[in-house]
Symmetry: C2
Subunit: 319 residues, 2 copies
Amino acid sequence: MIDAVVGIDIGGTTTEFGVVDRKGKCLKANSINTRQYTDLEEYLKCMHLEIQNIINSIYKDINIKGIGVGAPNANHFRGTIENAPNLNWKGSVPFVKKLKRYFPGWPVALTNDANAAALGEMFYGGAKNMKDFVVITLGTGLGSAFVVNGQLVYGHNGLAGELGHVNVKHNGRLCRCGNRGCLETYVSATGIRRTFFNLLRTGSAKSSLSGVGFQKITSEMIYEAAVKKDRLALEAFNITGEILGRKLADVTAITDPEAIFLLGGLAQAGNLIFNPTRNAMEKNLFPIFRGKIKILPSKLKRDSAAVLGAAALAWQNRD
Amino acid sequence: MIDAVVGIDIGGTTTEFGVVDRKGKCLKANSINTRQYTDLEEYLKCMHLEIQNIINSIYKDINIKGIGVGAPNANHFRGTIENAPNLNWKGSVPFVKKLKRYFPGWPVALTNDANAAALGEMFYGGAKNMKDFVVITLGTGLGSAFVVNGQLVYGHNGLAGELGHVNVKHNGRLCRCGNRGCLETYVSATGIRRTFFNLLRTGSAKSSLSGVGFQKITSEMIYEAAVKKDRLALEAFNITGEILGRKLADVTAITDPEAIFLLGGLAQAGNLIFNPTRNAMEKNLFPIFRGKIKILPSKLKRDSAAVLGAAALAWQNRD
């Protein structure tokens, strides 16, 4: 008999789930398409079936200790997913309550995707022996999670970690939240596209992407152009890293972390984003912090990180 | 027999100390002049004598359980006071180690003054039932302390809470830390003086303080002028509150506190500083936080707050 948990990561496109043992070994995993289910009950029914299937397909006897779920706009305290712009289910969804009906008797915990990523890093990744660290996820938006004294910072309303919405520029770029100048309008896959487009419009240098329409330019294409030394693409990465690094200097002044992890699509660009970020942070740090703060990539494999994070939440919920 | 602790608050000018019981009642207090002691041992000797005197002068039998010390630039982890610009003792002073020699057998804990203020507020003041809150001290500089899950945030190096050194303006005002544009160069007693002086130099309106030299203008004089509806003095308070409020919106996005307490000299200006701060914070908040975050004054009496904070640290150190 092996003790294990189920980790579920809900993304806008795909929902991934896996059965994970105490040591972070994913015994079996699968996924369903999130977008095809406009009806939440249909989605839960299908997920329940698929999870039962993978549990039954494992050759050993499995004792499931609980379920952990990572999702965008999740509220850990309330067990709800609230107004997630990339999901089909609108308003405040009592996700934990509904999921429990399909898995009676199993403890279910829910948290937002950045928090789940931080727990994954803390249980199984690069933050194993750390008590104070920050995780930044650079995807369509910018997510963040803060760990202090070995605990996730949830805050009074369960809404902490909205670093994507600190202000970079007064009356700056319009953000989907309604405010102007939020960090994620500059530092995210969407943000670097906006920066690159501005450079295309106003820049002195030519770019290999000059002839491509804005809507067709992805952050991956900017990355590929930068690898080929496209000057405007490189400049877009430098500007993005410069803005992020300056904010990480502020984050350090407040929380004094041992390390800051950069995760998600944009972080895959490696030194193109890490170098300008590190340089700008170091330059803007309150002097006593200089040389003390590490900016690191994830130590988890990209294809299993989200499920491992959700699994870590399930284990933590048992302890 | 009454259990009590000794709380010591070291300021640049005065060192205050008192004997405080479990409920936060200050049984007896006194102070010495910090500045007159260039030699640390002389200072400790005198303080030891005075503390013994007040303990002996209390009519009941007192069982001292420990000492708590709040001081500028204190490192809680190391028990040191490090390069405090307003104290006579330069370099890194092993304060706890030295103080213990005078009070053998008594546990001694040290923390910086903003952290001590937060503990005082949490044990005896307005944060009694709060687990997540922020304290901002507006004195010569800007100090801050963050409480998360009921615990002070010390960070990895014991240096967390340097909100005074987050950036407000790229290439802004020169700060004593060497960087430019730090929050405390705008929001502090010194900051409002710099703002007021800029307004005097460039402002369109006249001020009752126009004839007074810059070096002679204090933040108290600006306050008094503002109370009398001096337009430039009012504008200085509005600008200061606006900058602070915007930063508190960022602080909220990161930590989601129940309340933010404004303490110290500048906070004594009441609505002159609280109103523009509240308005600017609310306007710049990530929408989900609007209407949820309180900005509050201290609930402790100003003359005993610092000693009570240090006493709270001593009690916490025993628990």
